[in-house]
């Protein structure tokens, strides 16, 4: 297995809902006019609380300084697991589940805080730049580490530092944050970047005018319903996460649908904002899912974490996590 350390220096930011109008110019440029910026990594995730933006330094310049923008203090690097040399024939554990044991758990054991971002194409594990030596040390046994420089993967020289790092404490990880599972179902999809202009207006509507639409389309008193939408444009690839209702607004044959047309339900983690320092949250969830062999997407936002699991598995997932929760206390 290969672990690619990507060259993007990322910022994680949150835009308050009421201030979104100050940022729309920059966001539209980043999302729909990639040739006008040198930004290679952009995601926008809307939650009921805020908009979470993950963007590289080039793209960050497009955002105005404003009281509505809060930025996590660290610079983040994205890691990407590639099957590399041997193409393992078993395709069963996919997504976050696949890397739960090999990446997420060891990082959690070393108290390294991670920020997860699953897309249609792949899973990114974001770590703080300053944690990189420890990350490389932790993962070098399991992976061939490659650093991407100018688009070309070159062997990352292992720092060779072994002392000074705290020995991992291998403990059971109970689920400590409250969970909730909204009622609406989601799809993870993508589209041909060439067709992006044709659906740009719909996407803009979905991104920035959700509040207005929601009031008319869905009953606001449905407490179980969650407003969640994610758009990412990373290295030319588009990835979208939206609920079933939103998907219906797009014309046929524009969005990529899998042959099995699967739908996903969400597990939302956290009762109050999780912050960036606590580690092991992703591990708590993903290890349980991996144990049960359930595929999942995992999207961290500024305040909360979100896991997507197949609709048919939601009950067993909730069950498993609750059990774990109980075991911990």
């Amino acid at each position: 297995m290969e672990l690619h350390i990507l060259e993007h220096s990322l910022k994680v930011a949150s835009i308050a809902k009421e201030g979104i109008q100050f940022f729309t110019h920059g966001l539209i440029k980043l999302a729909f006019l990639p040739s006008k910026t040198r930004c290679k990594f952009f995601t926008l995730t809307e939650t009921p609380e805020d908009y979470t933006i993950i963007v590289d330094e080039e793209g960050f310049k497009e955002l105005p300084v404003s009281e509505f923008l809060s930025v996590a203090e660290a610079t983040w690097l994205a890691l990407n697991v590639v099957s590399g040399g041997g193409s393992s024939s078993s395709s069963q554990p996919i997504g976050v589940t696949k890397i739960a044991k090999s990446v997420i758990a060891p990082l959690a054991d070393h108290n390294i805080s991670v920020f997860m971002l699953s897309t249609y194409q792949t899973d990114f594990i974001l770590v703080r730049e300053r944690d990189l030596p420890l990350v490389m040390h932790t993962l070098s046994s399991e992976f061939t580490l490659l650093r991407v420089v100018n688009g070309e993967a070159v062997a990352a020289n292992s720092l060779g530092v072994t002392n000074g790092f705290v020995k991992p404490k291998l403990v059971q990880r109970p689920v400590i944050h409250p969970l909730s599972s909204p009622s609406n179902m989601f799809c993870v999809t993508s589209l041909d970047p060439d067709t992006l202009p044709s659906v740009a207006t719909i996407l803009m509507d979905v991104m920035f005018y959700s509040s207005g639409v929601k009031e008319s389309a869905a009953p606001s008193d449905d407490l179980e319903y969650i407003r969640f939408f994610s758009f990412s444009l990373i290295e030319g690839y588009v990835s979208l996460v939206m609920d079933e209702e939103t998907q219906k607004r797009f014309p046929l044959n524009v969005l990529f649908t899998s042959a099995s047309g699967e739908l996903w339900k969400m597990v939302r983690i956290g009762g109050q904002p999780l912050g960036f320092d606590e580690c092991g949250i992703v591990a708590q969830i993903s290890e349980s899912l991996a144990a049960a062999d359930i595929p999942a997407y995992y999207i961290s936002t500024f305040k909360f974490d979100h896991a997507l699991v197949p609709e048919e598995n939601i009950q067993s997932v909730i069950g498993a996590l609750r059990t774990n929760e109980g075991g911990g206390q």
């Binding site: 024939s89 490659l146 991407v148 070309e152 993967a153 690839y237």
Partner: protein
Amino acid sequence: MSGSKPDILWSPHHVDRYVICDSELSLYRIESVGNSEAKAGALRLSEETTATLLAINSDTPYMKCVAWYPKHEPECLLAVGQANGRIVLTSLGQSHNSKCKDLMGKEFVPKHARQCNTLAWNPVDSNWLAAGLDKHRADFSVLIWDISSKFTPDASVTTDKIRLSAGDTDAGLVVTKPLYELGQNDACLSLCWLPRDQKLLLAGMHRNLAIFDLRNTSQKMFVNTKAIQGVTVDPHFHDRVASFFEGQVAIWDLRKFEKPVLTLTEQPKPLTKVAWCPTRTGLLATLTRDSNIIRLYDMQHTPTPIGDETEPTIIERNVQPCENHIASFAWHPSSQNRMVVVTPNRSMTDFTVFERISLAWSSTGSLMWACGRHLYECTEERNASSVEKDISTKMRQRAQSRYGHDTEQVWRNYLLAGGDDPQLKSLWYTLYFMKRYTEDLEQKPLVNKLPLVYSGIKNIVKSSSGTVESWCCWNGSDRQADVIRYHSDERCLALQLCGWIKRGPEIDVEPFLQSLEAEREWERAAAVALFNLDIRRSIQILNKGASAEKGDLNLNVVAMALSGYTDEKNSLWREMCSSLRLQLNNPHLCVMFAFLTSEPGSYDGVLYESSMAVRDRVAFACMFLSDSQLPRYIEKLASEMKEAGNLEGILLTGLTKDGVDLMESYVDRTGDVQTASFCMLKGSPGEVVKDSRVQCWIENYRNLLDAWRFWHKRAEFDIHRSKLDPSSKPLAQVFVSCNFCGKSISYSCSAMPHQGRGFSQYGVSGSPTKSKVTSCPGCRKPLPRCALCLMNMGTPVSSCPGAGKSDEKVDLSKDKKLAQLNNWFTWCHNCRHGGHTGHMLSWFRDHTECPVSACTCKCMQLDTTGNLVPLDTV
């Protein structure tokens, strides 16, 4: 192809069909103009060809890539890769074909939708179709489909989960299970099957090039690189692959896959297509975005002497098939260097890349050029004279006849040069006379005029002093002639240089007259006799000339006229002669009468008769012009000669800077560096030889000899040159030094006798002389061993007879004196192995590699010129 940009695909089996694909597929047939003149709707592609639209297929939207079925049957079956990753089989104008019908409309659907970037049919097992898709987090990007497989609902996938759109559920038309899945969680941007084995697939993945081996799918060979787009195998060289990234093309050798064997110069705009020419080896065409030129790279493998490290020669060329930007192009599969290009608005041009012409001109004047697969030899029409007249031919012949090498009878060089050029004759005689005079002087103790001889008559007469004037009488009579003759040592010397008189103080032209008679130069002899005031002798010569075999009887008439000479100023004879003489064809006869009829002291009729030899005119001037007239005349004549580059003028200028000026205009006029080199080397004072122009002629002449492979002649010339110009002697180029003490092994010849004694004293070896030869004379350690015979090397020649051995030298025959070259040692500069020359030569007659075990150096091949034979041996 996405959107409006059309691509073009040539039919693999019908050389006249191709498909243009943008939003739909259009099949065209290409024909020559003659066949399709009458047809309507034929599109003009070039002056000779048109294209006719045969069929259009617009059944498949969202096309991303198309691949043409590689086998004959079913013909015109196309696989179309769509934006959602589905692959559809379709066809053009083949509705009647039942075999095709089964396959038509068949779809291959990946588990997760994403763009299909590339398609490649397996050329051997043509049921296999490889598709390269974009990345998906939980899916594979390289899927190999078997187009003959039937749709079988996967038991593990529950039916309700398969949400195929309504039309797709036609059983048998949708396949969801690929034969192979490769490249998990990766993207595939380009694919091609490798001709080395039908189960090898080369794929341009997200950040690497990978070779998948379907015999063992858990293994793959890969190399990290950015150049992952448009992988394509050279059809002429199956291990050579091209791929590109943005503006840069990388060429890979699959046998050495770690890094590109070369990267081509980066182009400013991103590349869109790279294709090897199927009809011509090593020709790669590249196209960039928004460009109307196609850049060609011609990769030629020239045998390079130093191993594999050197890069092949690449010649870059741009061609512009049409005015507009080019969207895509396709090479014609069989017609040489031909392609069809298509512009974004679908206009097409048939274009043939004109082959580079490489031209070679041999040193012997023949001309050859290569164009495509043709080699032309250009021979001049049998107009032999123009070739033979060419100076290069002449110089070559002269070099073969050892022209310039006769240092004793210098004038003979004129004969060696062919004996038909009066200027060369004059030149070599001048040089001969100069040499003879200096030799005379050398025998005398007083050597004061030596430099003067070579500085030419111009300088000689300048220094003239003590001239004696005398009124002369006609020979054989007491009659006072009406002329004044001048005498001085310098004038005498000048006459000698002109060849009129021999050495010594006597002014006796009789030997000269006799030599002219012997050469049947009757008129000239008569004129010289007359100028020496001997009318009788002159008449006698003319009579002799008239009566000689094939003689001109008119000479008798001239003799008659001459005999009527009278010095009466107003005589009829004088009047008639001065006017009628102009009608005489022979210049010598003409000047004779001019002399007789001229006023004393003004001999313009003689002096400015340009068809008379310069030496005769100068000799005449030296006899009859006063000290004030003579230098002026000589000066004028010399500058005329210099202007004209006439070698006769060397008589006047000598081998001085003036002479070099004259020679310069001669070389400018004729290109004869050979004569110039030899001539200037004769200038023994050596000053002129240092002139940069002279050095340039000499170097050019040497290069010329080398180009003709007249190496022996060149070596002879160098020897000749170093004799005359010792400063040109090259320094010793090579020393063989001992491995142990570092001294040259030939260095201490003189010290050898002592060493020899030393050896015998210590009793190290039986024969002291033997040990000398094969060991270092400095430290007595043995010399290296010959790689073949394993004997220590060393040749008797290194113990060349020293001063003390002069008594031995006497009885050594020539063969023994010079050691056999076979015994000398030689070595390879690359691997540093060596041995006896004879052994080495015989080894390399049958082998290419070094005789030392485990040394793979191809010593003999490193020396490309070593295998050439000089042309001037025999």
